[in-house]
Symmetry: D2
Amino acid sequence: MCGVFGIHNHPEAANLAYLGLHAQQHRGQESAGVVSSDGGTLHAVRKMGYVADVFDERRLARLVGRTAIGHVRYTTAGGSLPKNIQPLTAELRIGAVAIVHNGNLVNADALREELETQGSIFSSNADTEVILQLMARSPERELVDRLAHALSRVRGAYSLVLTMGDQLVAARDPHGFRPLVLGRVPGDEACWVVASETCAFDLIGAERVRDLEPGEIVRIDASGIESVKMAPSPRSLCVFEHVYFSRPDTTIDGASVYEARIEMGAALSREHPVEADVVIPVPDSGVVAAMGYARAAGLPFEMGLIRNHYVGRTFIEPKDSIRHFGVRLKLNAVPEVLRGKRVVVVDDSIVRGTTSRKIVKMIREAGASEVHVRISSPPVTHPCYYGIDTPTRSELIAASHSVDEVARYITADSVAYLTPEGLLNSVADTGGFCTACFTGAYPVPFSGATGRRQLRLIEV
Amino acid sequence: MCGVFGIHNHPEAANLAYLGLHAQQHRGQESAGVVSSDGGTLHAVRKMGYVADVFDERRLARLVGRTAIGHVRYTTAGGSLPKNIQPLTAELRIGAVAIVHNGNLVNADALREELETQGSIFSSNADTEVILQLMARSPERELVDRLAHALSRVRGAYSLVLTMGDQLVAARDPHGFRPLVLGRVPGDEACWVVASETCAFDLIGAERVRDLEPGEIVRIDASGIESVKMAPSPRSLCVFEHVYFSRPDTTIDGASVYEARIEMGAALSREHPVEADVVIPVPDSGVVAAMGYARAAGLPFEMGLIRNHYVGRTFIEPKDSIRHFGVRLKLNAVPEVLRGKRVVVVDDSIVRGTTSRKIVKMIREAGASEVHVRISSPPVTHPCYYGIDTPTRSELIAASHSVDEVARYITADSVAYLTPEGLLNSVADTGGFCTACFTGAYPVPFSGATGRRQLRLIEV
Amino acid sequence: MCGVFGIHNHPEAANLAYLGLHAQQHRGQESAGVVSSDGGTLHAVRKMGYVADVFDERRLARLVGRTAIGHVRYTTAGGSLPKNIQPLTAELRIGAVAIVHNGNLVNADALREELETQGSIFSSNADTEVILQLMARSPERELVDRLAHALSRVRGAYSLVLTMGDQLVAARDPHGFRPLVLGRVPGDEACWVVASETCAFDLIGAERVRDLEPGEIVRIDASGIESVKMAPSPRSLCVFEHVYFSRPDTTIDGASVYEARIEMGAALSREHPVEADVVIPVPDSGVVAAMGYARAAGLPFEMGLIRNHYVGRTFIEPKDSIRHFGVRLKLNAVPEVLRGKRVVVVDDSIVRGTTSRKIVKMIREAGASEVHVRISSPPVTHPCYYGIDTPTRSELIAASHSVDEVARYITADSVAYLTPEGLLNSVADTGGFCTACFTGAYPVPFSGATGRRQLRLIEV
Amino acid sequence: MCGVFGIHNHPEAANLAYLGLHAQQHRGQESAGVVSSDGGTLHAVRKMGYVADVFDERRLARLVGRTAIGHVRYTTAGGSLPKNIQPLTAELRIGAVAIVHNGNLVNADALREELETQGSIFSSNADTEVILQLMARSPERELVDRLAHALSRVRGAYSLVLTMGDQLVAARDPHGFRPLVLGRVPGDEACWVVASETCAFDLIGAERVRDLEPGEIVRIDASGIESVKMAPSPRSLCVFEHVYFSRPDTTIDGASVYEARIEMGAALSREHPVEADVVIPVPDSGVVAAMGYARAAGLPFEMGLIRNHYVGRTFIEPKDSIRHFGVRLKLNAVPEVLRGKRVVVVDDSIVRGTTSRKIVKMIREAGASEVHVRISSPPVTHPCYYGIDTPTRSELIAASHSVDEVARYITADSVAYLTPEGLLNSVADTGGFCTACFTGAYPVPFSGATGRRQLRLIEV
């Protein structure tokens, strides 16, 4: 998961890109980058770390130009290489181009092999570079035509933003796996913005115009905005954007994430009621669904677990410790709320089960008499190939364990998941969703290994 | 405000001190430090920044020894000097000693002047160093006697932890302005811990034994634990520890902060009810009181403002921006929750009023028809001299404006504060509180300037 | 000017490459890099700065493998980009390859344009990358064949070293502009080394076997050493290697640089004698020639100028100073040696004349009665296109001023240069030399701008 | 050994102090620092590293004020602590004061113990701090009086410069162990400078007025310059300032170091002639004496060893190497100069003998038929207690070995040292010298350990 941002024709383009990334920091904490374009030359800042750590006044001041794109990247195992930090850039014959990408291509390895055989030199092991290399070899003269040419070869999930010269180009794959929304700054006809989430618009004072359609390429330049459509496919928006990834103050295709989560909690309560004294969330992701559950169940809602927000990307556990602290570094129970109570604890998902097990233990140690775990999404049984860093199937507890077995493993008195129908009905959205991770129905087939390419060059 | 920690006789003393500081990170984000003692030599790590940034595996591994103390410091204007980072240390004739301090001395300047006249050279401009210099000149042989000798000269607020050799010493001023709690690690008779808040114990698996009494000095060494009492004064615990500073999962003198805040909200609802559709908190500090308000008022509770937790110490606003983003960097409204609603927004305090004004504006722009601000503490009318970084009186909006004027300034439909009685009755605690910031009744008199000493030496 | 190094099949390959670069540090102080090969994967360290600053124990330890190549780069205006730091590397279809280059290609821009039109993406603006991109597109399977294929397209000056897998490949352009010498470690049959200068061999205890011939490609792998010849051209070794660039303890094609400089000084004395009391050098480059001059002239040799060797790459002049210190930061006169004396000062060259002018002034202020400047090479009248960073013609004082005018400008009582014949006769070397910078006879024609490519992407 | 500098009443005081330190960089490469005074406040920059690395434009710009002092410190084993970096500073009752010190006190430990017993807290383990602590306890009101009071207690070697307010104070111990010279900037009546060496004056364009007398304290302020004398002792200038420490372009008490070294070489030749073909120096320290030797002996002088000046403070040898490179990293022989020759190699001293042994081996490997070592000073048989970092007696090869044994150890055909008389007669200077290191006649007695104080506080 990642967050992207683009802005066209604004005197403070890089500043607003920086803020747009900050608002989407929850989508990726590993690295951040902005490339601005002054019409001819690109100016790049990209580093490992939080947006707040990557940018300072001096660097922002050097990102001159009226157009800018930006990216925040999620922490992924193994691929944390400086040369992979987005935006990726390349000096093509037609000009220098920068690109940001949210998603994952399923045929990147095969394309890379083909391109290398033809003499292309890759400078990263990001699948995104395949798009740049295909664009470099395209016979077309226009950026958007080269992009269309390249996208005709790739398959998978992508929400892209590019800049070259004074152009801003945005593209969403034919299935619309990842969100991408178009907006504009009120009072400034010529200033357009794109982002993964509308919360980025709220911070900079932009207004949502509409989400990009699946398979749409939008080109914005001095002559205005223009839209090109690729061959359509049924929409397959990742439903976990509503469950977990997006911020509750975001709307996707016009549907409120906050309202969806309230309704998920309510549906979960209707599907899986339980005799209890109090409903608590696993903060922060479970808060809104827990409120929906409590309200529908007529039970008191309490913040029975307090979250320490200072556990960031860099926090290390003492190495030689006799204990593993894990989730305790992040959460602490409030005994006054839990002592002697039958507790419903609401979370968005269970992946491996190890964290849930520790949370249940923590709640019991604080004095709860019963612990009932309620999950606002169906059991995750299949890995994601479209950009989410899920573990392999064998590590997904729900892939090999019944709900009762999960309950036993995490030592809960009961566990219950929202049904697929309950989930999809919670979202006020008419379009289709990708549900592959709990149904196994993959909208785009994939073949062979999709792991990162073996490194043959290591920067020490 | 700051957080302190100490641990005696544990094989992983520095690791646990590091975790104890992490759990208390909310008490100070400017700098962090740990000093460990291996019985003879002290080992120090102290740097500007978060606990996560100050410590890494290499540094932690070098903090050898079975005893350690630590400190997190709050951001204060002007005094952000590396040489002031705690723990402060000194090589006294009797050995090297380290000290951490939460609080503020009111007669530090006069004592410093007196000591300098006698030939003492100060190496910081922290008031804490006065205690070290007094200890250096004490004729006593034992650490605890030198400390008692020094404390007989100082007046004000202090919760102290010191280490020298294999000793751990903790002291709380005669008024008990700041909390200081004693605990132990279950199953390890000889291992004692002290901290500002019990949430530090929860993380490392220690158990609270009791809070230190006002005027108590505790000495812990190989021969056990021993307590010395200074001349007693009426307890004057800072009531804002319950309102705002402490984490809700902490207990102070056995009283739950979470329960106190729920009750503050409930009392606020009883004192200042209003016709409304929804109650929302200013997150995170107002969350628990807002829940108490909503519940007592029988109104729905919603998370109408979403907080971006990535606004840390280092986040900068773009310098040349046409707008000031301020609180928007941290909070965003959820229109789906607020549109067309009469909104009660609960916060813990109003200091200058500028932030509240922006929050009210944000709620209105999200569509609220009415905005009623409810504050879970009385109006702050007097500056604090005991360790809280309040502005001068002229900047405290409540010092010069009526409640109606405050409402007009922050553009709220109404504003109401919890009464002093309502506040004090909310805390299940029999002892006395310092209420100087809203009553002007200062338990310890102060004279003249108590600002930081003028710098005569600047490290570039 | 730069220095290159390569070593094949040694257990401490990276350590020796590091030392080999240290010995050649005088050839370039801007950046340094080593890439080692463990047979399959390349490991790279490359940074701005001195060899001593770029490498530390941790980094050296990670440069695993028995083969390594290295590079030090000269400070050049404008092109100081991290992405240009050598060794350059690329993951080709046949494996990851690293390359170092001393010299300059004259048709790099045209080739780059051609390659970009065909879809190649360049990741630096170094002319060396053209060779890599040509290799990537070569249909050959073997590294050395791909290299030969690429070199058939490029023209100009190059001494190259490459590694891929367990191979080490070295190549010298058909004119042999830059030196490149082959050696081996005594007692280790299979261990070969290559370097720009023999002084690198002395440090690591290797022995010179022979210099590579112009137009020779040497491949070293497990099966031994093999040589391939490109179409030959008359040798055109840069004669300034003897005058200035190489260390005096180096031999080039078997000729001693020290002896050549002694003879240059002697020839200069014979060509341009003068009535004088003392001969002094401009240290360090003029020391040996000044000794030769003094001895031939029968005059005392003194160190009348003392050099401060701490003026390194990073030394800055105070910005707001009322004076410009310039050469005074590096040199100081010894009045006891100069007072009342007729002084001959020997230097290797005059480029713009500004430094010489300051040196003459310094010698006069120390009391010299006459100052006679003697230069151990002919007047530099033409810029170099083969790898030396000379200024444009208009800045070369000798291009537009007579010797008398130069003397007047630098305020010397007389100035005299060694003649071309005097210079060439001083070198005990039968081969041909490039003398373009003082004759304008360029061995390889060049066309149009050869400046660095305009940047279209700037890393902030 | 260290270098000091001070400047009073100049608009660019810090810039000139920075340059004054750069000119004296040879006196210490471990750390550098400048403190400027704007009349009331001191501004400090002090860091480990070369002058070039410690200062940059931003830092220099912040060193405001018209008075400044500076210090470069020699690398000493064990005591490399940031808190010891000079200038040391202290905020005394009468103002903030900064001090720099070249030399070593012999009674620092006893005084420190006495002061700590009285309640002083030391913030470094530098012996210089004893002077600051004594000054802090002095009842005097004026800086110079407090200094005189403090100096009446200390014994040993010191050349000091202090600043407080607009005053600059310089002091030289009663024996005048270390040099300290007074100068002024021509054309600026009120601007005075002090430095360890006159080469610092040359760079900034100042003129030497006179050396401070042993036992003299000079105070410079707005009212002019004033001199105070302490009780006199016979002058005992360290004679090694002429042999080795000072730059050849410096004069001490009006005597030229360059001329002294030429004469040492000549005297050495007269005392210890040898049948030989060539004289070479160990560069750089032996160059001038070797020239003197060659000239007096009528033998050719050659640079038979080439020095690599890039071996700086940070250069590391590969850790896991099979060989120890040592002096080879710094020196390389020129076979063309040495092959088949009887070689005289001139150096300034032999301490342990290990380096000389390697140099002799290097010369032989380059083909010399005989190697005769000539040393321009007497055998060092006693450690120095006045500021030079000599090893213990047992490590001084000449303390326990005859000259023949030394020759055998370093594998030279012969070794000869300049006699004490030969040395003293070489210096055109009427005053007395400290010759303790080769005579054992210590001008100031010392008692017990003078090692650095045991650390009780370690900064990780």
